[in-house]
Subunit: 415 residues, 2 copies
């Protein structure tokens, strides 16, 4: 006898009665009879006319309303929008819902005119067209990108009221492009080159310094996202992808790579994207995104309709490799159970976790903690503050909790 | 010294001169200086104004024109459209470009009103809402779907002029939903039930018979596709997914499952979707899609710009499991080389293969053959005909070849 997944259904008995009557009328498996009865029962909800014809480029159903969070600003070109994680499935983020963070808005770039300059401490400076890059050996990898300011509001203890507003500056895509090491081999990196500047073609020429070790390890210059061209908001036509590293350094609209023997100390790695500690000193070059997770169902902003079975589901990721384990608590952290992890688990990618749960109708506090392949365990907010204080808005990866009240409403728990 | 990936570049020497001059002017790695010079060199191609602000739901770049193939018809609701495989990257097909095959068009279904009836030889007939199904234990899997009529034109020997028209009725997505076995366990399948009818809510009530073994093995009822709700063209809000089986039996707009002790012999498994052999007999219930592959670059419809390095890339898949090997020939099948396979390789999913190639400017014939984990080797067209004749339009999985002419044009080779 399977678990009763449908005990919650208030009209279960009525459904059974209808369906049993139908089955009775259908002894002998007459298909045409079954069709007639089923049609009679369900006719009010079923279309009977011919539907829309095939189309060149499809759109989502008009009933689907999930959208990125945007907000009013006096400087909207320096803005962001968050992925509605609670409305996504699996590990792929739909490109139309991938989070955004722009410093000068989204430039419109004609790929036929765009070039990538590789110069500085190289043997053979290069100017590459997008077509040049697409001829080269390519690869596809599934990786998350996360803004280091994601969950910054969690430092306050008040926190975001739903996954979109607490964790929505993280998304995951299948990226396709060329290994940066392939391009650098063509240019011939000089021995003394230890860093490179990656610069975008947006109005502010967003630039970041990248150590040569990361450039040679797994960095990519990508032109594909989820099977088609990378989206304008993600850097069309070329983006630097540094798997596992904070979003800002994954420079979008990439047009220049400058090799040098020292970092460039750009605005966005000095006045921004450094972590101010309690003692007034700032950490710099804190690139890796630590292991993190969030429950996306049930979650803040939702209302549970009745007691009974439901699945707890969420996302976990680590900039340091593979997610090895996710533990889920339904009692505010007193006890933890190992969640099921969706296979295969990619390193530096979203991992979907799931745990069966039957809600008994009383108060419950749901939380998750991720453990990555380095053995690192996602910490509590207090544990983070003990080490880093509360001056920084960046790199908050504390455990997130949602409270389920007896009336079924789910809200953020102040940590 | 790396392979010279850029030997093809006609202006390579000019690029080198410009870039070398710039590097010379930048001795000492002055970042601001480098910025100024790069900006001067590239100003005509770079936007300098603030770009677009963040948006609720993004769109692809206006420069991207890839589209599904549609065609004129007197009965357009019974039509199809193909994926432009030559314009896709990686293994995920963008949902907007997933192939279509409709028998009565795409119905518009309100998910709040849609139900799935499970009845017939079950202990507890059920009527499930979409919300009921979303509460249940879920899973995500990457699988291809392929129309059994895909590549039907190849039987003639003339074949499609590009991958979209020869192989475009195949696409691959991350699907999320519930195992059908979970739903059937709730309903309680009676011992005598050996088959089920899956029926759609489109105007023609498209229906197919599914053996209970497949239903219990890996069949899913899916509501998610590539991170968001399944698209209307793919069965919104619910689709039956039978991994590896011909597209038609993956019933879209699923609204009814009827358990029985025999198949239902519906129109679409008798007058259609059977394979007429040379002797006049027809094969029925030929569900599995055999191993297949196609080179998507370089491919028919393209023109190579000059000799030199370029990557050969393509897609392989098998309805019987994982792709174990793909071999590529550039000399019309005289010799074969093992291509690189993109990891991880999912069973019953697209696998991207790649082979480095340097075109010497002479005639070349490019082809690929897939080998799956059962050891099955994708056959030549003649080998298929020897066994099955040429009466059927279905299940053609022969090796596809593209001819590169000395002028760089690439065309279909008549096999």
């Amino acid at each position: 006898m399977p678990e009763d997944l449908l005990a919650h259904k208030p009209q279960r008995r009525r459904f059974l009665r209808i369906a049993t009557a139908m089955t009775g009328a259908l002894a002998g498996c007459s298909d045409s009879g079954a069709k007639k009865d089923a049609a009679a029962t369900m006719e009010e909800t079923e279309p009977s006319l011919l539907g829309k014809i095939a189309s060149p480029y499809g759109e989502r159903a008009k009933f689907e309303k999930a959208k990125r969070s945007t907000r009013e600003s006096k400087t909207p070109a320096a803005g962001s929008s968050g992925t509605p994680l609670q409305d996504t499935y699996g590990i792929i983020t739909p490109s139309s819902l991938h989070f955004e963070r722009h410093h000068s808005g989204v430039p419109e770039i004609d790929p036929a005119k765009h070039t990538l300059l590789i110069h500085g401490m190289v043997e053979r400076p290069l100017v590459l067209s997008v077509a040049d890059i697409k001829r080269m050996p390519s690869m596809s990898r599934i990786h998350f990108v996360e803004c280091s300011g994601n969950s910054g509001g969690e430092w306050s203890g008040k926190g975001g009221p739903d996954p979109q507003r607490s964790h929505g500056l993280a998304s995951c895509s299948e990226w396709t492009g060329v290994l940066l090491s392939t391009l650098l081999a063509e240019a011939g990196v000089k021995k003394e080159a230890k860093w490179l500047l990656a610069e975008g073609a947006d109005a502010c020429k967003m630039g970041r310094s990248v150590p040569i070790e990361k450039a040679m390890a797994d960095a990519m210059v990508v032109y594909g996202q989820n099977g088609e061209a990378i989206r304008p908001e993600q850097g069309y036509p070329l983006r630097l992808l540094l798997p596992g590293w904070e979003g800002n350094i994954n420079v979008k609209w990439l047009h220049r790579i400058h090799l040098a023997d020292q970092p460039f100390y750009t605005k966005d790695e000095t006045s921004k994207y450094t972590d101010l500690m309690a003692d007034g000193k700032a950490r710099i070059f804190t690139w890796e995104m630590d292991a993190k997770s969030v429950i996306t169902a049930p979650c803040g902003g939702q209302k549970l309709e009745g007691k009974g079975f439901r699945e707890i589901s969420g996302l976990a990721w680590s900039g340091r490799g593979r997610i090895e384990k996710v533990e889920v608590s339904t009692d505010g952290g007193k006890t933890w159970a190992a969640a099921q992890l969706q296979e295969p688990r990619y390193p530096k990618a979203f991992t979907r976790f799931r745990l069966p749960w039957t809600w008994d109708g009383s108060d419950a506090v749901l939380s998750s903690r991720a453990i990555d392949e380095t053995g690192y365990v996602q910490p509590s907010r207090q544990a983070l503050i003990d080490v880093r204080g509360t001056n920084s808005q960046y790199h908050c990866n504390s455990i997130k909790a949602w409270k389920v009240a007896a009336d079924g409403s789910v809200t953020n728990v102040e940590a």
